[in-house]
Symmetry: D2
Subunit: 348 residues, 4 copies
């Protein structure tokens, strides 16, 4: 089988370099172009010595037209970039997977309020598919344009989904206390994420409002007829990779008779065929490192009276970003869904 | 003024060595004895080179009787030790501050269930004072025997207190999602807290039940006539010191008219005279390092509809253990409450 | 092609679990048995959740005889274990790769002085091959028994080798200032490697004598006719994986005319065909993370007058232990040398 | 006694905020002004919440003239700032302590080559005193202008000094393999020192030339009549604070008869009266954390044949910068040399 040609826009950030790691050895895809306005001409392996001897490409000028030669292009860029460039690529028959926020929200009013930008291509957006394969696999299979989910929303959706779709909990009182490694803040030079600021310390941030809330709400609302209310509290943790979401939901009166075994069984059944969702034994305490550098997301259930506590861990750069994007690519092109992303977690 | 003589039982753990750091320069107290069964005769500064040239004591045999010469003895020991030894010291007129769990819970049935040990001196326990000076200063002033609060309970109590004593929130639905640095697990050789296990990763633990829950419940119940229900979820974070508690409470219908300014004002008024509680501006995101190596606890309020979110940070070894113990000593002996513990946080 | 059957003795430590990660997806080998006296019957994935769904084995009792069914057995054990068990396995035709120290030193007197143990099988030892494929590939190809090099010695040998075999430097004045991540200390419960002891701090250790010195000396002596003198100073660094060796060697008078380009060329030529040795451009500063979780070792040259400074980085658990062991297995069995160990470094 | 008035220029970096921590509680000095061009008017405690309730100053405009009211002004600024502003302050009778590089090197040609700037006040420079009190106390006592030593040079000088002044080692072959925590790179927004870049990894940097080499050479040359040759290799270590210098020096033939006890005695005698230099027992392995947040520098000797290995640890922000600056101030003003800087190291 001939390999598909892959392009990456914005290969200098963490999701970009993670795409490179995953795609460099993909059995059915080959890296064809990586663009960067500021680094055009620079060998990729010079910026990222971890890729020496494996990735021979240099950064291309995004204006060179090389992306038109690709079968699929990943945007690992800040919001605003993909919506400016995706329509032309789609017109050429290139499929697009945006790891940024431009194609996640169908509600453009919310998008504009959240990102302080008018949406550049509302028409195209209508055909975008929200790329969470576990919940949306058929649509992904047909998609030409994918909005790849945010890292936090991936954990919240997969953690709450079995409870909401089965109408077991009060959807109006969901709490998600989430903790992320620092790589989630990206590879931008900023004082707040310097080693000497962020290590041996932690803090909450964006408690009064984070851009992942509307994205999550839009998706949770598809799971249930109830009104959805979500309190989402993100925290910054001194680790490079890793995300731990601690989710709280109150069982509805009609579901309070369920035993722990019943709840466990509902989760296990929901995800029984999923290659990248692991439901651990009831009462487990998953560590983020049990998913480090892998595409696996792990879930464990606990219960306190009528409150279900769902613990969800993943690697924010893999299942929370680049790995999920490759998973979407695999589904879109009919490849084995695990191709190129079945590496084991790195422990310790 | 002559300095009081201080003894420490169990000076080889983290709370013990932190007591040494704080007491070595205390203006009104002098270290008189540090006991350790296993290290008797070893100079303290040999085990802890940070104390070279400052602490000249060697560890004493606890059986030597030297503790009887002290004005006050701190127990920085696992549960069970203090309740075995405190009664004899109290009989000699020595005051006792236990940093362990033996004198925190008045309900011996709960104690025994929690710690799998019968309480050795229920009579003495009746006279023990729970040593959270901000809530209990007068009793501490009179006390001969102090049960020094646990680290998590300190944050939960000081964070919920203004809401509960003013009857603003539903006491039956409290959630405390708490995060602790690894030093909270003590200086025991264990695989789970090895550097290679605990760094660059995080996890929840004890979700189904932690010994700090009953202690906190017993104290929260004193603040309100409502039934108290608490979900407490501790997490282990890859930092040495530091604790971040994210507290969720729902405003009662009769309190929902309160503005953010009203809530802020209630907290500021409650702690206006407290030297070690800092109420930050509404909407702040305190970092744990803003309290590192200091006795300060900081609080910031947020609100999401009818839910109040209280962020509380402290150094688990200082305000959460040794610093609070010295604060109690200062109150008990009529010293300036900040004596010896007014050092500034270490930043970065 | 039928896969060979692999056994692992001592699968509960870090080199053991790293072997599991590498071998679980090896194209020509399959895990057949993992033994642990203390954990017999326990599913491996229960101890290491990172392996859930991939490694289905349980730990076997080492006395069960199951190791006799293997084509090759790895010992990831403390010294003393392999030399007790290897002879019987070899007699059955099972090949043995010892990741411990039992078969690294041919000089049993030095072994016994160093490890305070008589060598249990000096006869067998004579046929052991020191498994550094870059320097010893032909012997490895023929070997039935491999002593897999120590982590530090791997960096020192590959860093000094081009200088010594070409007789460019004074072999009597070698200095190796080496830095290791904490995983090198193993997965033993010890106070010194607790997170709260080893993080945000560093120290030298074993400056007056480390067991890797005699191993390195024995090998360096094979490279040159000169007398060899080595000062080796190991340091413990707060990172999980990674080793950085800073090597100092003085050019002999007859080599001082060499230009930097000449030196660079000598190194590049030496390692031009090596899949796992990367000679970076002269004057580079390799980061340990550029090898994280991969089998790559990177070298960069600097010069200060007549002193050559060689910087060498690797992942101590991969090229420094488990990866090199699999590399040896590949060579021994005639597989592609990179099979199963060509994964890219994890960055960030 | 009336407190002296202290000004700080550049209070927004790590050495600036560390000066604030040390001076806020100094018994004989009071903070009078902190200037920052970019932050004028902003309360200092808003930028550094660790100072809330203790430091009430706001940043001043450096053009306001407030520094003229001070008895002493500290410059915690990049090179170039102090030499532009110090002369005018000195003319007003204000003493100046520069924590940057402007007044460390007497050789302006070397300065200009190193810092790519002409020296702005060579006349004033002549009267500057190099502020390493252990080696230069009398001159410091008389000084109006201090060039405060760099962090690395402090360790190299205090480590080599007893060997060089007693002419025990070959001064032409000194090697300093040094390791620094990341705070040494300052509080600038840069990709290379982001948490996700610098944690769980390490590297050498500036191997071919670091600005601290000429400063160290100029000082080492004062200690000996021999020609001095120094190889200085700095490394970046994933810890916030802390510096570990591993120094190698070869005993001269006439000194090779010295026993380890002799060497130890020479070091102990040299520093016997020093409050901030601790010579540990021969063969010790000092940890950087044994000096964390304190002004103590610790030294331990090892020996390998004719090579002496000196291990030196300090907190790079305290004895390596702000603490040493306050020590200089204490000496200049005739205060107890330990005033305000005798806090114990923070452990763990």
């Amino acid at each position: 089988m001939q390999k598909i040609k892959v392009g990456i826009v914005g290969g200098t950030g963490y999701t970009g370099v993670e795409l490179l790691r995953l795609l460099a050895h993909h059995p059915y895809a080959q890296l064809h172009a990586i663009t960067s306005r500021t680094e055009a001409g620079v060998p990729v392996a010079q910026m990222f010595p971890s890729l020496r001897g494996v990735v021979d490409l240099a950064f291309s000028d995004p204006a060179s037209g090389i992306l038109n030669e690709c079968d699929v292009v990943f945007f690992a860029t800040p919001h605003g970039v993909a919506m400016a460039q995706a329509p032309a690529l789609l017109d050429k028959g290139v499929r697009v997977i945006d790891l940024g926020a431009d194609f996640r929200l169908q509600d453009t009013a919310v998008f504009e309020q959240c990102y302080k930008l008018p949406h550049a291509c509302a028409d195209v957006l209508k055909n975008a598919v929200y790329g969470l394969p576990e919940l949306n696999r058929e649509a992904v299979r047909q998609a030409k344009l994918i909005g790849n989910p945010g890292c936090y929303p991936t954990t919240m959706q997969l953690g709450f989904y079995p409870l909401l779709k089965n109408n077991l909990v009060d959807a109006g009182q969901l709490i998600a206390d989430c903790k992320s490694g620092v790589s989630g803040a990206g590879r931008k030079a900023e004082v707040a994420t310097l080693f000497s600021e962020a290590s041996d310390s932690m803090k909450a941030y964006g408690v009064s409002g984070h851009r992942h809330t509307p994205e999550t709400l839009e998706q949770l609302r598809k799971m249930t007829a109830q009104d959805v209310g979500l309190i989402f509290t993100p925290h910054l943790i001194p680790m490079i990779r890793g995300m731990h979401s601690t989710l709280y939901a109150k069982l509805l009166p009609e579901a309070q008779h369920l035993s722990n075994e019943d709840l466990q069984s509902i989760f296990e059944t929901t995800y029984v065929s999923e290659p990248f969702v692991d439901v651990m034994p009831f009462g487990s305490h998953p560590e983020t490192r049990s998913t480090r550098a892998s595409n696996m997301l792990r879930i464990a259930l606990h219960r306190h009276g009528d409150t279900v506590i769902v613990l969800v861990v993943q690697d924010n750069l893999v299942k929370g970003a680049a790995g999920q994007a490759v998973q979407n690519m695999n589904v879109m092109f009919g490849f084995d869904e695990t191709a190129g992303i079945n590496m084991l977690p790195v422990m310790p």
